[in-house]
Every structure is written in C-alpha cells, then in structure tokens.
C-alpha cells in the first residue's frame, strides 16, 4: 500500500505541463494551439481534482487532456490535421544550429512531424501518447477509453503508415 499526499493543480502544472504541451504540439504542429490546450487542461484539472478518486492518475489526467484537445478541435470546427505550414517544428528553426549534421537532424525532425500530421487522428494520438508522452499501453487504453488490443493495433498501424510516408 502506497502513501498518498495531496496533489494540487499547481503541482500538476509543474510536473505535467511540459508533457501536455508536447502532446498537443505533436498532434497539431502548432505552438499557440498547444499553449491554449495546456491552460484549458489545467482549468479542468483544477475543477476535477476535488472529485478525483485515487487510482490511475495518468489515465485520469490524459483522459482530461485528450478530451480537452478534441473539444478544442470541435470548437474550432476544423480537422486536427490542419497545421499552419510555417509552424512546423518552430522550436527547431529557432534553435539556429551551425553544423551540417544539425541541419540534417532537424530536417529529419520536420519530416517526422509532417508525417505525424498526415496520420489519421486515432493512430497519431496512440503513437504520440506512446512515443512522446511515454505512457504504457494500459494507460493509453484508459485515456482513450478503448481496449488494450486496440491500442496495440493503432500504434503498429500508425508506425507502418509513418514508415510509408517517410520513405
């Protein structure tokens, strides 16, 4: 039996904020949308913490994050696959590398981000939760509310499609 301590939304913000931001950025390719999502998720966490029952905190948090993301997409009435072209991997462009090897690494990063944005939403979400956020299949299943077998299938099919679009 593990000991429990209070967790505030400020702690959630500090511990998970960056992960939430990266989740949204990799799904949208847009830094403003990602920042908006972090704020929306933290608002929902603050409201929801009062009724949170100890259990899978990751599953709970990422379900909130995922729902906030989808609500935002619906509200904007657009498909989640629409990035602003010059927003793709802004971080990489801003880092101003000097060496040729750096350019080649960044170009690969851009290609991967673009390929992610071309994936059907369910596959992209599963791949990002697995490879960017670092959740287990079981945590992804809880967050997305599908069986673990479906997560397994979505991740592999997502990777297959990524491979096709990267070659």
């Amino acid at each position: 039996m593990t000991e429990s301590v209070p967790l505030t939304w400020e702690e959630v913000a500090r511990v998970y904020g960056r992960k939430i931001y990266n989740f949204a950025y990799r799904l949208t390719g847009n830094s403003d949308d990602a920042a908006d999502l972090v704020q929306e998720v933290l608002l929902r966490v603050r409201r929801g913490l009062a009724s949170y029952q100890p259990g899978s905190f990751e599953g709970w948090l990422w379900r909130i994050t995922r729902n906030a993301f989808l609500d935002d997409v619906r509200r904007r009435n657009r498909r989640p696959t629409t990035p602003l072209p010059d927003e793709v991997d802004r971080w990489s462009l801003a880092s101003a590398p000097a060496a040729d090897t750096e350019y080649s690494r960044i170009s690969i990063g851009d290609d991967v981000q673009k390929a992610l944005l071309e994936l059907p939403y369910e596959f992209r979400e599963a791949v990002v939760l697995c490879d960017i956020v670092g959740l287990s299949y079981e945590e992804i299943a809880r967050a997305v509310a599908v069986p673990v077998g479906t997560v397994r299938s979505r991740i592999h099919r997502g990777r297959r499609l990524l491979r096709e679009s990267l070659t």
Partner: protein
Amino acid sequence: MTHLGEMISAYLDGELSRPEIEQLLIHLDGCGRCAADMQDAQIVRSAVRSLPLLELPAGLVPEAETELVSLHRNRGFLVGAAAAVVALVIAIAAIVTPSAATVSLEELNSRYGARASLDPAFGPAKVVVPDLAQLLE
C-alpha cells in the same frame, strides 16, 4: 501464413507477455516479411522518440522553485535533476493547503525520478509569471 504484425510494435515497447515473445521470436525466424516489418517499426519508433522535447512557453504554468531548479542546473548531473523533481514535489506537498485530491507520492517519485534520470531534457518547468493562478482566483 498468419503474420504477427501488431505484436511487433508491442514487443518493441516491452508490452508482450513471455509466451507472446517466444511465439513472435519463433515466427520471425522463418518470416522475412515480419522481420522486415520489425526493422521498419524500429526505425520509425526511434525517429518519433528522437523528436526534441519542447520547452513550455514562459509564463504558462505557475512559477517553479527557482532555487531547486538552479541547484540541479549547477550540478549538471542527471541525478540532480531527479532529486530536484522529487524535492520539489515533497516541498510543495508540505506547504500547500490540502485539497480533496490525493495521489501516491511513491508513484510520483518512482515515475518522475526514474524518467528524469533517463532524460536530461526533463525537469521542473523554468517559467516566471503565474498568470493562470490569478485568472483562476
């Protein structure tokens, strides 16, 4: 032949049971298609995982404990990052007004302690203005 496509990614992610691993490895031995599939999945998995972990824009979340952040920076040591994350969680837990919500400290320690020690990019957020906190009051 029945191919084992979906088991391949699960294998790479450490999500297969022992009997499933055995089944997959035996199959891969005699199936060029699945062996190639495995290689492709491995390449894509590494490519996505090597995307940089982006910094949060400044001011987006409440201010972190700057002393603890600078401590881990000065050490320039991965263990320092892990200790800073853990100390931050403990320090904050000790001073805040308790809410109804609880989460296991041990769970946080093991998860983020371990992750911080593996990932030099992962650490406490380094930001300044708690706009959101004011917004919420």
